[in-house]
Every structure is written in structure tokens, then in C-alpha cells.
């Protein structure tokens, strides 16, 4: 798999004298084989060196915590405005108009980011908290009445869909476009493989739905969407920018939490000792969710593009190169985490990069944590056992790690 003796020819600036060549790794992180079990490849990528070259897609990558964290926290050197997928916006037309926040750099990013930060702030979370907690309890009561359910469709998808679209202020009609749209967005960050091409080919109806829902007249008063549009009146953003920022909520606000919740339930179903600890102390719910984000890393990867010739761990990389960051590998790097392959609901998770880090760190992280805490606390209080009762099926996506199906039986406490 690793050919550390081979140099990447012709693509490097003169490496610092004496620097070893950048290891080439023969891994396709966007293949079904990788999606099924990324961990041996993650380890190989980390051990190969601080930066590696993926021949399959002709791109550089970092998989160790220190380098992933450093790249995330140097947005001027490792920019987002050329796209955070493999496609380089300087060379290819983006599949949709670029995001004003995800695919932007300072100073443009600073202004739009401030708007979403305020709309999704800790103070706002206090206002929506009770609604989210109540909905989680209702959901668990209903699932307990059924007994045998699919933890993906009936819980990990159903719960966010029961709270988030209302919080944004979306109309009832057409919400079935939300998950398919997000699926396209996250597949589109990947390389031009079948997943990406098929997703984009089929994206038109989902794009049309999202574009329409982002308009001011379709967003209920008091919701996140209306709050974004209200910032037009305050002069913080233009009328054209507001729908684009609502689009960011619809792109990144649902499928991510679906896979986060799915990860947490899958962890608790697999590790009964941790489930027992959670049951005996439901106040651990929030950290149990956070640890599931570290452990499974529902968002596995993002790219940056170098804005100048740079040094990564002693290796030279030229300006204009895509760098793939393996968030999931960083979150299990033994250089940073003790016993990294253990799901431990009391772990000190602060510093994990499951939500990213730096100026582009997930702006909706507080909503995700609220959903995760509410759901896991309801489970811990109301459910005695979570048993996996059928084949666990993985869902394939170029960016998101999660399940297609997780059949479980819940028994009431």
C-alpha cells in the first residue's frame, strides 16, 4: 500500500534540503471498500508521514491530528474559496453557485459567518431547547410502542426532520427533498466518481426545491431562515446573499445531524458498558454524543487549496494544490488520543475535529449538540436495552460516514 521510497515527480517545489520525499499511498478514500472499513487505511495514511500523496486522485492529504488541525487553522494559506471538495473552482465551474460561507475566505467570509453565528448562537439555543427536548421524548415513546424499528429511518432521520425544518421555518410541503439534496451536496465534494456524477445528474428537482424555500416569503416568522433575512434590513448582508445563507442551513443542517445521531445510537448499541454508564447517569448524554462524533466522524473529509508554496511537516507543497484532510483519521490519531479506538462517553473530547476547527468550524454545532443531547438523554431515561436485531447496512457517500439501515429493538425501562 505504501511506497515511501517513491518520490512524487515533477509536482513539488524544491523540498527543503534533506527532506525525505512525500510518501505515495495507494488508497482510494472514495471507494466502497474504504467506506466499509476506513480504519486500516487511516492508520496507513497516518503512519506514512505528515503529508502523503494519493496517486488515485493526484492529490495531497493529511491524516495526523497535528497537521489536520494546523491546516484547518491556517485559512489564508489553505483556502476554501477554490472549493472544499476535490474540484478546483479556479479550474472548473462549480456544480452549484459557491457557498458564501463554506467556500469563502476572509474578509468576505467574516461578514457572512458572523450572521450565521448569531442566528445559531448559544442564546438562541436556550430559546429552542425545550421544544427539541420534548420532541425527542415524544419520538422515543412512539418508538418504544413499536419495539422493533430502524434506528436510521425511524430515529436518526425522523428526529432531526421533526425539529430542524420547523426551526428554520420551512413550509410543510416538499421536505422530502431535504435529505436527497444534502446527499448531493456531500457527494459533490468527492472526486468525479459514480457517486458524484449520479448525484449531480439527479439533483435538479432538489436544487429547485431548495432555491425556492430559501426565499423570504417561504420562511415562517421567528425561524432561523427569517432571522437571516432580517439581517438584510440591518444592512449586514444583501438581499441576494440572504437566500444563499439559508441554503447553507439546508445543505449542512440535516444530513450531518442524521449521521451524528446514527453514529451515537450505533455506538451505544455496540458498546453495552457505555450504554449502562449513560443509563446510570443521563447527564452524560451530551458528552456521549460528542464522543460519537469523534469516534465515527460523520463528516470524514474536506479539502483545502494552497495559496502559496508551503511546508507541511518538512515537505514542500506547491501553490495551487488540493489538500485532503482526513478528519476521521485525525480523531483517532494515537499521537493525540489515548486509546483512540475506544468509545468512552466520559472522554475529554474537547479539541476533536469532527466539527472541523478554526474559522470554518461547523456553525451549526450547537444545534447538532442540542439534538444529540436531547435524543440520548431521552433514550437513557426511557429505554432499558438497545439490541441490534438485523443486518447493519452502510450508506455510501463521498463525505458522510453513516448507515443505510440499523435494525434495533428497544425495550422500555
Amino acid at each position: 500500500m505504501i511506497r515511501p521510497d517513491a518520490e512524487v515527480s515533477g509536482r513539488l517545489t524544491e523540498a527543503p534540503s534533506g527532506a525525505p520525499p512525500i510518501p505515495r499511498v495507494d488508497v482510494d478514500p472514495f471507494s466502497n471498500e474504504f467506506f466499509e472499513n476506513p480504519y486500516p487505511a487511516h492508520e496507513a495514511l497516518r503512519e506514512a508521514g505528515p503529508v502523503v500523496h494519493l496517486d488515485k486522485w493526484n492529490v495531497y492529504a493529511v491524516a495526523r491530528y497535528a497537521e489536520v488541525h494546523a491546516v484547518l487553522n491556517d485559512p489564508l494559506t489553505f483556502c476554501s474559496s477554490r472549493g472544499v471538495g476535490l474540484s478546483d473552482f479556479a479550474k472548473e465551474k462549480p456544480w452549484r453557485p459557491p457557498s458564501l460561507i463554506l467556500e469563502a475566505d476572509p474578509p468576505a467570509h467574516t461578514r457572512t459567518r458572523a450572521v450565521l453565528s448569531r442566528v445559531l448562537s448559544p442564546a438562541v439555543m436556550k430559546q429552542i431547547r425545550d421544544r427539541f427536548v420534548d420532541a425527542a421524548e415524544v419520538k422515543i415513546d412512539r418508538l418504544l410502542a413499536k419495539g422493533s424499528v430502524d434506528a436510521v429511518a425511524d430515529l436518526a432521520e425522523a428526529y432531526p426532520l421533526s425539529v430542524f425544518p420547523d426551526a428554520v421555518g420551512l413550509r410543510q410541503e416538499g421536505r422530502d427533498h431535504l435529505l436527497p439534496y444534502a446527499g448531493v451536496v456531500f457527494n459533490a465534494f468527492g472526486p468525479p466518481n459514480e457517486l458524484r456524477q449520479t448525484a449531480i445528474e439527479r439533483s435538479q428537482p432538489h436544487q429547485a426545491y431548495v432555491q425556492e424555500q430559501c426565499q423570504r416569503h417561504n420562511l415562517a416568522p421567528g425561524g432561523f431562515g427569517a432571522c437571516i433575512h432580517a439581517r438584510v434590513d440591518a444592512g449586514d448582508i444583501t438581499e441576494a446573499e440572504a437566500p444563499m445563507l439559508v441554503r447553507s442551513l439546508l445543505s449542512a443542517g440535516i444530513d450531518t445531524t442524521v449521521n451524528g445521531l446514527g453514529a451515537a445510537i450505533y455506538c451505544l448499541a455496540r458498546f453495552p458498558e457505555e450504554w449502562a454508564r449513560l443509563r446510570s447517569n443521563p447527564t452524560l448524554a451530551r458528552n456521549a454524543f460528542e464522543e460519537a462524533i469523534r469516534f465515527e466522524s460523520p463528516v470524514q473529509t474536506f479539502f483545502r487549496t494552497t495559496t502559496k508554496d508551503v511546508d507541511i511537516g518538512g515537505h514542500g507543497v506547491r501553490e495551487g494544490e488540493k489538500i485532503l484532510m482526513f478528519l476521521g483519521a485525525a480523531n483517532r490519531d494515537p499521537r493525540r488520543w489515548a486509546d483512540p479506538d475506544r468509545y468512552d462517553i466520559t472522554r475529554k473530547t474537547s479539541g476533536h475535529v469532527g466539527f472541523g476547527s478554526g474559522i470554518h468550524m461547523c456553525v451549526g454545532q450547537l444545534v447538532a449538540r442540542l439534538e444529540g443531547e436531547a435524543m440520548l438523554a431521552a433514550l437513557a431515561r426511557k429505554v432499558a436495552t438497545i439490541e441490534i436485531t438485523g443486518p447493519v447496512k452502510r450508506r455510501y457517500n463521498n463525505t458522510l460516514r453513516g448507515l443505510e439501515s440499523l435494525p434495533i429493538t428497544l425495550k422500555a425501562a
Binding site: S117, S121, K348, S350, G351, F355, M361, Q365
Partner: protein, 107 residues
Amino acid sequence: MPTIVFIHPDNRSESIDAVVGESAMQAATGNGIDEIVAECGGNAMCATCHVYVDENWIGRLAAMGDEENALLDGVATERQPSSRLSCQIKIEQGLDGLVLRLPERQV
């Protein structure tokens, strides 16, 4: 190495050695001060590293920015004039002896 004194909610005080250049949040989480949660890892996003700065010290800290000010409106315990986010307090030699009170909860 500047010393920072954390006062737990039960009034027990604990002194730790901080490193110049790190944040008070990093000093706390690196020294087992469990009341500092820091969910966002120091990115000024989550308001879970809230502290009450001792009145003798509050005026000696660098002024807070707009983002920190807005985040403090969302802290879990009551916001007071002495409230700060510890991830935004950068440790300098001049802060040797800084006293920070820890809130009952962060979420």
C-alpha cells in the same frame, strides 16, 4: 510560569501553572479543571468555558470582542459583569496570580 487560581463552585481553590501564550481555557483543560468544558475547542463558538473573573483582575484583562460579548448572552449560568470566556483570555506573565471563579455548570 504564571500561576492561575481557579475557585471551584464549592469554594475550593486550585492553583495551576499556565504557559505564556496559551489560553486560560487551555490551561484549565490541560490541568484537569473539569468545570471548563470547551466543547468547541477554543474557537469562540460554544460558550462552555465561562468563568467569573475576580474583581481585582477584571480590569487587567484585554477587552472582550463583539463575538465573545454576544456569546456570553448564552452562558448556562447567570451572566455577570465579571463574566468572560476563558478561551479568549490569553495568558501573559502579567497575569501571574489571576483568580477565576468556575460556574456551577456550562450547559
